[in-house]
Symmetry: C2
Subunit: 346 residues, 2 copies
């Protein structure tokens, strides 16, 4: 698989990529060990792509935007991978057909690789699989990786945590910026793009002014770093993805960001920070999982929970009792704790 990803012909490479990603998505312990070995082999060949996060509420026009941008980038000589984070895809039965319909030309282009969100598992698991798929795409030579989120819940935070630049698509509607601020998405944005500017030019200009002012107010309380020219401050612009207007200006801004943040070392720092966060998130998930699966904890938990809910036991006392039981059980029956090794994506 490894060799196929790096140097196979186009069709062989595609098959090797699909096979690798499927292996990495498996929760079987032996697959997981093979997957880890593969990742370690791939790593030296990764990291050279630009990782672009794209977020926005349903209806904002993400698919059209990514289709337009992807074809534009291919025209410029890039190879483009599109990954999606959508923890709900397991519920609605996956989105493979969806992606092909959504990005009609891009999905069949030989210089594009589109992979829908892995299905099953919670957001943490889905995000981890997406990160690993991104590494596969990078090793295969895709030099722009777009991570798209469905724009609901915590998937934006996950996309932000694995990309070099985070773009928020907005509609020219009043109050939409408030929603984005509320969810903390506006604060994460390096670049806010008002899509569908063709529909109502006045509204789009109003939205641009409103968002610019919001970003300024948010930055007022941010770190001083953002205010000198050596660091990026978030930009706002209008486009119409449907008409293709503004896509070149969009990409120029992305390139200006990439140049600045590479030069000042922020891009490297950001990736290092993301890797550490990812490692600790994975550890915490593993610890919690082992705890919840441990037999003595499972036996005691319902009763203590009831006592806490009925006000007979302080929550902190119950927590200490459960931790003690867990520590004691791990000592006498190591196999139980070992369960943290399996089912890596939960």
């Amino acid at each position: 698989m490894f060799a196929g990803i790096l140097e196979g012909n186009a069709a062989q490479q595609r098959r090797a990529m699909a096979k690798s990603i499927t292996l990495l998505e498996s929760t079987r312990a032996d697959h997981r060990a093979q997957g880890d070995a593969l990742l370690t082999q791939l790593l030296p060949h990764t990291g050279k792509a630009f990782r672009l996060g794209i977020s926005g509420v349903p209806g904002v026009g993400k698919s059209t935007f990514i289709e337009t941008l992807g074809l534009y980038l291919i025209g410029q000589g890039h190879r483009v991978a599109v990954l999606t984070i959508d923890p709900s895809s397991s519920v609605n039965g996956g989105s493979i057909l969806g992606d092909k319909t959504r990005m009609e030309q891009l999905s069949v282009h030989e210089k594009a690789y589109i992979r829908p969100s892995p299905s099953g598992g919670n957001l943490g698991g889905v995000a981890e699989k997406t990160r690993e798929a991104m590494l596969v795409c990078e090793a295969a030579g895709y030099d722009v990786v777009i991570v798209e989120t469905v724009g609901v819940g915590q998937s934006e935070t996950a996309a932000w945590g694995m990309t070099d630049m985070f773009v928020l698509l907005q509609l020219p509607n009043a109050g939409d910026d408030l929603q984005a601020i509320k969810k903390g998405v506006m604060e994460m944005a390096d670049f806010v793009v008002i899509n569908k500017a063709d529909i109502d030019a006045k509204a789009a200009t109003r939205a641009e002014a409103q968002i610019t002012s919001s970003l300024r107010l948010l930055a007022l309380h941010g770190s001083a770093e953002q205010h000198d020219g050596r660091h990026w401050s978030p930009k706002v612009m209008q486009i119409s993805a449907l008409n293709g207007t503004g896509v070149d200006a969009f990409w120029n801004t992305v390139q200006a960001y990439q140049q600045l943040q590479s030069g000042n070392g922020q891009l490297h720092k950001r990736r290092q920070k993301q890797a550490m966060t990812w490692m600790w998130e994975r550890i915490e998930t593993g610890l919690k999982q082992a705890f919840r699966q441990q037999a003595d904890v499972q036996a005691l938990l319902p009763q203590l929970q009831t006592q806490v809910l009925d006000g007979q036991l302080a929550a902190s006392t119950a927590a200490r009792q459960l931790l003690d039981v867990y520590a004691g059980a791990a000592a006498t029956n190591p196999q139980l704790l070992q369960s943290s090794k399996e089912g890596g994506s939960a």
Copy 2:
């Protein structure tokens, strides 16, 4: 101590409360066991107070507001406890003197009990001590417990997670509501109070309109529950704590909230949810602590961290290796895992 809290004379009770809270704040394992026993004894005598969270940025006038409100409530026959969540108090050397100066009359009143934030430890530890101190105050018959936060960082979330009603104090300044929305504090607020309305009546009225509109926009995307009359929707009002204007109207609103939320069962549900969250937070903290303190993990971590930062090892692979080492070590040396029982507040 237990008897002293319930039925001692005023001076005896105060001593018993202080002694109990000090015991509960201790991280020594034997103290912790005694503390848990005390909590279990106290619990049936707790829960009858109304728990009021009060938050706002420095300078908004929290101390003056709490002094005014506290004296007003004592005048109405209540006994008032004031607890503070301030994780920074260990840095600046505690705030006991501060509290006495800040709330001059309330701090010496026999029907008030003011306890500064416990010093030392992170927010999770500080919050846990505050929760436990609250139970001591309730058992001692204080029927209004005010939990004040310093209005920075995550301390609001902690206060929200232990109170029946969360009040946000705001200044009549433009853009302040945006900050509160950004930090997620506006969304937690059951009641927003614009203080210092006496200084600039026009600005206060503008702020009230602005916040009302923000709350409406935020609620638009909230649950449908909030929109019928059987559930509370957040209120906004102006006061001047310095002049004492509006304090009776404030308390009337609090009582209306208490009545509605008791009747529809929301208050009970909220407390049950808070207790479960508290328990799981404590468990997660204990699991992480045991992991970080384990010798094999400590030996391996620096090297893996370096490999991840240098791009030689995927973060998820490093996490799995550390979890495996931890599980193996716990199996052969149970004493290491047992460390999770001690240092309960970290």
